[in-house]
Amino acid sequence: MKPLANPPIRVALLMFLVVSFFIGLFLPGQARIIQEMKMTYQNQNPADLVRVIKDLQQRKDELLTVESDLSQKLSAYAEAADDVDAQILQLKKETVSLEEQVGGGTLVGPGVRVVIREESSGASPSILADEDLLLLVNDLWASGAEVMTINGIRLRDTTALYRAGLTVRIGSAATHMPLTIEAIGDAEDMAKGLSFPGGALDLLNLRRIGAIVQKVDLLRISD
């Protein structure tokens, strides 16, 4: 029997459907990987990288200054070891400095506001984990945040952050999603620090947790 030169129309259409389906199937994956590749260091804007390096150098200089101050303080303690009045004076100075650090009053200044929302709909809802929140907060501290609040609760050097079911525990206080983090400091540096490849925002995106970073000209953080 002689085969037909052309297949039946249904077979031809089925072939078009199958081939175009496979092309379509790979397109989103390919588009995603290209987007991810654009986020790597090699594809970053050199001007941004220079700015980040400069910021890090500035941060290093600041840390060297802190180290120098601490060395001086140590020397002052050593010198005042035998003098009670000098010791009291030194301790008073230290108290004032520590009060400034933990924040005794209301602070105002420019900064960033980060709003984090979990994806509660869909087949697999996204949940913010302890380490996601810690990474975000630590990235903000590292990018120059001076004071920070989460849903209005002030963070201190020793504040513990963790998830307890649907609740987010911030030290002894408790709050719920969505979280609004407000940080006073250099807004440009903090926004850049968060959006750095492999940083907190990348991780949150990977976990399908929405995070909106907004630069704010004047934030007010009270104790």
């Binding site: 052309n6 259409l13 078009f16 081939v19 496979f22 379509g24 989103p28 390919q30 995603r32 290209i34």
Partner: protein, 113 residues
């Protein structure tokens, strides 16, 4: 009809690809892109053949498979040799895509007239 089927297949594939993403390792993304380009060329060639009543299923399907494979292999070989061989595939498939689109357009315009 063939256009509707092709677009439907493409949309269906994209929808499935979004819902169930196909993981493509970054190192192979260039080769996949070349294979996709070859695939688009095959589809347009197939539509052209279909509209001109010269469609051959064997040629279409083998063309899709072999062209995609050869395009990806060409890219891989170029990387191994340190030559941008993938450009050859991009130029060839790119120009063929334009040609096929032009022919499809002419055929459709003649049918309309």
């Amino acid at each position: 009809m063939v256009g509707i089927i092709t677009v439907s297949g493409l949309v269906l594939g994209i929808a499935v690809g979004i819902l169930r993403p196909v993981h493509i390792p970054a190192v192979y993304s260039k080769y996949v892109a070349l294979a996709l380009l070859a695939g688009v060329d095959s589809i347009l060639g197939g539509i052209k053949g279909y509209l001109k009543d010269s469609f051959d299923a064997t040629v279409f399907f083998s063309g899709f498979l072999i062209n995609s494979l050869v395009a990806a292999l060409l890219g891989f070989l170029g990387d191994q040799l340190g030559i941008d061989l993938y450009l050859a595939a991009v130029i060839v498939f790119g120009s063929r895509i334009y040609q096929n689109i032009a022919i499809i357009r002419r055929v459709l315009l003649k049918k309309e007239a």
